[in-house]
């Protein structure tokens, strides 16, 4: 596992807040576009396919009803 899952931020609340604030006042459609651009920008910043793959797997673990995710929880 190359992906860092310990907190990298000295102030995690501020980091979360920054992302949340970015969506203030946006429609869902705009939010989706914003997130999409962010994913690409941050993926490039990471610059490591293996880390990216692990991040995708982690994100998918909590996805509801995705047939491609083994062990996905359904509510």
């Amino acid at each position: 596992m190359r992906l860092v899952t310990q907190s990298n931020f000295s102030n995690p609340d501020a980091a979360f807040r920054l992302v949340v604030e970015a969506h203030r006042g946006l429609t869902d459609e705009q939010s989706a576009s914003l997130d999409t651009a962010l994913v690409l920008i941050l993926a490039n910043q990471v610059g490591d396919l293996e880390v990216l793959r692990e991040a995708i797997a982690l994100a998918k673990r909590h996805l509801v009803g995705d047939p491609s995710v083994r062990g996905a929880k359904t509510i």
Binding site: A32, S33, T36, A37, V39, L40, I41, N44
Partner: protein, 538 residues
């Protein structure tokens, strides 16, 4: 209204057709299909001294508009086969591509930014011209017996031979062959006769191809648009061909009615919007859907598959014909060696290893391009939109924009290569196709390494950067010696740079021009071992 250059050939009854069944003729190689791949393979085999029967069910070429972009590697191969010069002379040479989003340019790329190569990055040439020039070359080679309107309809495999049944205007006849090479295209009859599966991905997206004749001043570059105002929400491609013909490729809706869309009355306004005028005439219109698929094994006993019969890709990247031609050059020398008895049959297995991996790479690249152009879900479309938007001001996103990654020869991970044992800081590693560079002959003629390789005779070649006395080479290896007291010199020093060479360095080139091994301090024993390995004797 639609016209196309076409070349008509004639069927001739051959003597074999009159033989009684008990005396059917036997041939070492029968190549099925005289498309670009079959023609090229037959020529390469004949130049290696191998007689070939080449059959095709048609008697004309030039129906339909297909490939236009032929790669540097294909041109280098055709040059070795004596037709490269003609292709370049007739073709439109290009190396720059531009990618637009809306009406503004996102970026441009240059596929051959350096000089000192004999062949350009690409030429655009209608496939029918390429095929016609290949047929002309075939006709100069008495070892090739080209039979038009001979359609393969039956194929039986026995231990050491195949029995083919051919249908002609005079009825059917049979022949036997030690090897059959199926170059009969995407709808391969041979594949069907053997029941070989051809599986992969079918794309629902439809693309309109229009070839139009007009005089225009656009530069000879590949122009690709995402979401241009003249064709909102879709992609478009513009490419120049010889004879003032332009290839226009427009993405259509998935559910577009292909019969309606193909009608010139419906195509015309689309093209007028794109060009901003109506001074053009159509020479060809068609609508395509794409598939990316391959057969599992390229060799089934004595039947070998090459070109579209073995693999099919989407056209974005010009990987169809170009990769088929690479199949042909990969197979020709191996088959010739095996038939001559200078290599065992196991050499052929490397054809499957090398070219099926290349097919995977081509399928992967062309699938990625097609997926980028036609995103499947709403979020995938959003991702693409984000990449295009970010590409305006960031390098990373520009490099994710995928309007087709153009054909490049694969690097083979192959048992035929001898792994490096010395340290190299550049130069083509084993498994890579040779890199061209200028050289000068003893009498002052400026030529290229690819010429020197051709002059070396088409077998194995040792590119040797001279230091002291010439090496003793095994019989089947010709020398290409470069240096102060050698047959060739490298006055610009480009060859040494491109091969990361120091005096004494040497590269062993396979008969298809791929690097088999390289040495800082070659010895006859090491060269001998590398040649033996490259012939499949591990």
């Amino acid at each position: 209204m639609l016209q196309q250059s076409s070349y008509q050939f004639s069927y001739r009854r051959c003597r074999e057709q009159d033989l009684p069944d008990a005396a059917i003729a036997h041939h070492p190689v029968v190549v099925v299909g005289a498309g670009p791949v079959g023609l090229t393979l037959a020529i390469d085999l004949a130049q290696r001294g191998q007689s070939v029967v080449l059959i095709d069910d048609a008697d004309r070429i030039g129906e339909g508009s297909r490939a236009i972009c032929f790669s540097k590697r294909s041109l280098e191969l055709w040059d070795r086969l004596g037709v490269g010069g003609r292709m370049v002379e007739k073709g439109v040479v290009w190396s720059v591509g531009r990618v637009f989003h809306g009406d503004s340019e996102l970026y441009q790329f240059n596929l051959l930014p350096e000089d000192g190569h004999k062949m350009p990055a690409f030429v655009n040439l209608q496939q029918y011209y390429a095929e016609a020039y290949l047929v002309d070359r075939v006709q100069e080679l008495p070892l090739i017996d080209l039979r038009w309107r001979n359609k393969i309809v039956g194929l039986e495999q026995h231990n050491d031979r195949a029995i083919l049944t051919l249908e002609t205007p005079d009825g059917s006849y049979r022949m036997t062959a030690t090897y059959v090479v199926a170059c009969d295209g995407a709808r391969s009859t041979v594949r069907g006769l053997l029941g070989v599966e051809f599986s992969g991905q079918v794309f629902e997206d439809q693309f309109l191809i229009a070839d139009v004749r007009m005089t225009a001043e656009f530069p000879t570059e590949r122009w690709f648009w995402f979401d241009p105002t003249f064709h909102a929400g879709r992609s478009a491609l513009l490419h120049r061909q010889p004879d003032d013909i332009w290839r226009i490729d427009l993405q259509l809706d998935r559910d577009a009615d292909s019969v309606e869309e193909r009608r010139p009355d419906n195509v015309r306004p689309r093209i007028e919007r794109m060009l901003g005028h109506s001074n053009f005439e159509f020479t060809w219109i068609s609508i395509y859907k794409f598939q990316c698929r391959r057969i599992d094994r390229f060799i089934h006993n004595c039947v070998i598959f090459a070109g579209d019969a073995a693999h099919q890709v989407s056209p974005f990247g010009a990987r169809g014909a170009n990769s088929g031609l690479e199949d042909a050059e990969n197979l020709a020398w191996k088959l010739a060696c095996v038939l001559k008895g200078s290599a065992s049959q196991s050499l052929l297995e490397s054809y499957h290893i090398e070219r099926s991996a290349a097919a995977d790479e081509n399928i992967r690249e062309s699938t990625r391009s097609t997926d980028f152009m036609a995103p499947g879900t709403k979020q995938q479309a959003r991702l693409r939109q984000a990449v295009l938007a970010l590409a305006k001001d960031t390098d990373f996103a520009k490099r994710m924009v995928n309007g087709g990654r153009l054909s490049k020869p694969s690097i083979y991970e192959t048992p035929l290569s001898s792994p490096d044992t010395d340290a190299w800081n550049g130069g083509p590693r084993p498994g890579t196709s040779m890199v061209d560079a200028p050289v000068v002959t003893g009498d002052g003629q400026a030529i290229y390494l690819t010429d020197a390789f051709i002059r070396a005779g088409g077998g194995f070649g040792l590119l040797e950067f001279a230091k002291g006395a010439a090496l003793q080479l095994p019989d089947q290896v010709s020398s290409i010696r470069v240096g102060t007291h050698a047959p060739y010199s490298d006055p610009r020093g480009l060859l040494a740079i491109r091969y990361d060479a120091t005096p004494g360095s040497a590269y062993l080139l396979r008969p298809d021009g791929y690097v088999a091994a390289r040495f800082r301090r070659p010895t006859p024993a090491a060269i001998e071992a590398a040649v033996s390995r490259a012939c499949g004797h591990v």
